[in-house]
């Protein structure tokens, strides 16, 4: 996946743990962990909204596109 989630960087900047963030936005640690480890296939706008609100950041602070990681096999349908 060419989209990388930079949640770990933002959490480090804010000195927050994944558990604290999970408590604040009401998402399970397991789901946040999927997001943090870049295993997520999609992210809901509601999740992104909650993350940006609690972390006081923009979506661009959480997501990054890196061309070298493009696998070429995925498509949007």
């Amino acid at each position: 996946m060419a989209i990388r989630v930079k949640l770990d960087h933002v959490l480090l900047d804010r000195r927050l743990t994944l558990t604290e963030l999970a408590d604040r936005i009401g998402i399970t640690i397991a789901n946040l962990s999927v997001l943090k480890t870049n295993k997520a296939r999609a992210i809901r706008f509601s999740t992104l909204d909650a993350l940006c609100r609690e972390l006081k950041c923009q979506p661009s602070d959480l997501l990054e596109w890196s061309p070298e990681e493009t696998d070429g096999g995925s498509s949007v349908s």
């Binding site: 998402i27 789901n31 946040l32 999927v34 997001l35 295993k39 296939r41 999609a42 992210i43 809901r44």
Partner: protein
């Protein structure tokens, strides 16, 4: 996500299949044991039926072994008519039945025993696969990737099984036609391929593809945060 309650029909079906599977497994083991034993020991009154598969031992009823095979019959003599509705001649077609006859140890006995055990084995495998699918439904994971493969495998086995069944019926018909004579009718050989069974297999193949698509959707869903 748990989609079934403890008392749901799925749990009932799992228990039912468990009982059926145990029964088929016992019959299969006993059938195999009797067939092997019959070769060495003097078992009287062994009765084998090829299709649908069954076997029994009745020492008092028969001294000999008996084999029941599917046969196809054509009637040469006799006249069928319905004068009241103006039909002077009608024909009887596709006369099928079962022929039971005494049998000695030999190639025919071995081949038919193997067919019997093979059919029971396939039945046991089918029940086991259905049980595994139902367990995933009970556990709330009906779209596990293995289920699509299982459903597809069942479909192919049903389709191939129908061709094998038709071939067995044809061979048994041919055996009767070449060895048995009768008065007023004769034994014929025809494959008796059931188009309905093949269509059922094809429908299950389509369902397998739907399952595969469902598996992808389920994976997407579970990886959406």
């Amino acid at each position: 996500m748990n989609v079934t309650r403890p008392q749901s029909p799925v749990s009932f079906l799992i228990i039912l299949l468990h009982v059926v599977r145990a029964a088929v497994a016992i019959v299969l083991v006993v059938a195999a044991a009797v067939v092997v034993l019959a070769w060495f020991a003097d078992i009287r009154g062994l009765e084998l039926t090829v299709l649908p598969p069954s076997f029994g031992v009745s020492p008092e009823a028969h001294n000999n072994w008996t084999l029941t095979i599917p046969v196809s019959v054509a009637i040469d003599e006799g006249r069928i008519a319905a004068p009241s509705i103006g039909i002077e001649r009608a024909d009887l077609h596709d006369l099928r039945g079962s022929l039971r006859f005494p049998l000695q140890r030999g190639r025919v006995f071995i081949l038919n025993s193997l067919v019997l055990i093979l059919v029971m084995g396939v039945g046991l495998w089918l029940i086991t696969e259905l049980q595994r699918i139902l367990r995933t439904v009970r556990d709330g994971k009906p779209f596990a990737p293995s289920n699509a493969t299982r459903v597809r495998r069942i479909a192919w086995v049903l389709i191939a099984g129908e061709f094998v069944r038709a071939a067995i019926v044809y061979l048994e018909n041919s055996y009767a036609a070449s060895h048995f004579t009768a008065e007023g009718f004769r034994f014929t050989a025809s494959p008796d391929l059931s188009v309905g069974a093949i269509v059922e297999g094809l429908i299950i193949l389509v369902i397998a593809e739907v399952f595969r698509a469902g598996t992808r959707l389920d994976e997407d869903q579970s990886l959406t945060v």
